[in-house]
Symmetry: C2
Subunit: 288 residues, 2 copies
DNA sequence: CGGACTGTTGACAAACTTCAATCCGAGTGG
DNA sequence: CCACTCGGATTGAAGTTTGTCAACAGTCCG
């Protein structure tokens, strides 16, 4: 199971559905690492096979405003959630990686309020909306998975608010990278070294700054010695320092009017990123 | 039912629990306007009375980091959700009004990641966490209410990301007011005229700007003729204009480098707010 | 090899934060 | 009852950050 054969037509899905196969709720629960599958549920779960859909890099999973037919759990890969403004500006609202739910926000609406697109080759579990009510009742563990996944997504969104509310753009970027690092760790990858699946422009849109500013802030964080940056390769050299820096807030309510970065000088150095030597010499190739 | 007698001790709650009474899931569902209560559920629902808790203005509903014992549905009033940074800065993450769920983000964690405090006298339905699994199974309509409430909260949080990602601070404020207006309408109040339950500093924290900037932006929006502002009294005079203004985005991806506000001049006038006449003469008193 | 795209950096103008002063209403104590 | 303080809101002035425009390097692709 869980292999992906050439192509099985998926009845309820949009025409761009490239490839799909079938899995089970038990397997899905295990992959999502939400809980230990309850053996008592197995006979019931067997009656509800789960569609597995492959989405290629750059392909849309759902379009903004499309009827909300299903929700998805990311089995593998990365997605961006975004809206297109009237004037064409792309506003990124979230990135989703393995184990996260997509489309949960549509459960209280008739259509998806935002588009979702794969940033790399990805696969998702597809739960048709019409099955959700039955599943919730027949398979209590599914109801819990859904609650916890929704809760997790809300938690991420709240953290994003915390990121966006930061004063300075370099602090925003630092907080973003730390959140990303945690999520990489949560899905089994290295929290220190990873490859960004999104471009500067997409990060800029999420953080609410100009893409040039994102570029400059990467350089600044690197100049402060927190990071090694080479294009989309990131290596966090000083996690504690980065975290300390990310805790910089606006001047506090009233009491202590101290400097914004106690004991930490904000260097104005503008050393080019590529000139900063990586401690291990050259950055190895497949740094995921 | 739904009356609030003097004081019944509530077993599972914190000592600061001021007053509480008992209601039913049927009543709760009706108040939340989530769905038509299913009469078939009534016998089951009767076995699960719902605690109703009163929270006075300024009182904390939950503290940051407290064990996540329960989730809440706002029956009446307004809450702020916030975190305190190490240096004492208060970061507001959300405001919640009637019909919204509080604490949903704690379902995937052991403790509440953020504090919640009443901004005015409020009442909430209390669902102990230990009951959630049973309720979800025994009362399918509850499972749906919870899913939809969580989904709604996520939708709000995503909209907030959209607000925060706006370039200019006056656009952020405009978007914030529009979201607030919609939520006021959704809980039965006027979408045009309302009383802000939060101070400038709290709005500023949510929007990620200085509180002086919030004040200036209120003045600017008033000077543009979109609003009448007097302290916390808001009257939206030109909803379409305000919406058009709120759609201003960063310069779009590549194609049309036109002005940010097509056909709309950003006045630099700095007329004092109190000098701007309200069309209906004096602002009437109890403008909620 | 030209063309398109991404990422980086510089320069300047615009927006924002910060510090500061003022006004006002609410609460308090004489 | 009134002076007093306290906190919230508003506005001004100055300094800093950031957006915008522009140029350039590197990569991918037809």
């Amino acid at each position: 199971m869980e292999t992906i054969p050439p192509a099985i037509p998926c009845p309820n899905q949009a025409p761009q559905c490239a490839a799909a196969s079938i899995s089970t709720h038990e397997t899905m629960a295990r992959v999502l690492q939400m809980f230990e599958p309850d053996s008592a549920d197995q006979p019931v779960a067997a009656k509800f096979p789960v569609l597995l859909r492959r989405v290629h890099a750059g392909e849309s999973l759902v379009h903004e405003g499309a009827p909300a037919d299903a929700i998805f759990f990311v089995r593998l890969g990365t997605f961006k959630v975004f809206r297109i403004a009237e004037d064409g500006y792309e506003q990124v609202l979230a990135f989703a990686v393995r184990r996260e739910v997509l489309g949960f926000e549509a459960l209280c609406a008739a259509s998806y309020p935002a588009a979702m697109q794969a940033l790399e080759d990805s696969t998702v579990y597809v739960i048709p909306r019409c099955e959700i009510a039955q599943l919730s009742h027949a398979l209590p563990s599914f109801a819990l998975v859904l609650q916890r996944a929704g809760s997790l997504t809300l938690t991420h969104s709240r953290e994003l608010v915390d990121i966006l509310a930061a004063v300075a753009s370099d602090v925003r970027l630092a907080r973003f990278l730390i959140q990303l690092s945690k999520r990489m760790a949560a899905c089994g990858q290295s929290p220190r070294r990873f490859l960004l699946r999104m471009g500067r422009r997409e990060i800029a849109s999420l953080l609410g700054v100009a893409h040039e500013t994102v570029s400059r802030c990467f350089s600044a964080l690197a100049a402060m010695g927190f990071l090694y940056v080479n294009d989309r390769e990131i290596d966090i050299l000083d996690m504690n320092g980065l975290k300390a820096f990310s805790r910089s807030t606006r001047r506090q309510t009233d009491d202590a009017p101290g400097p914004r970065h106690p004991g930490l000088v904000r260097p104005t150095a503008r050393t080019p990123v590529r000139a900063l030597a990586h401690p291990s010499g050259l950055m190895p190739g497949g740094a995921i």
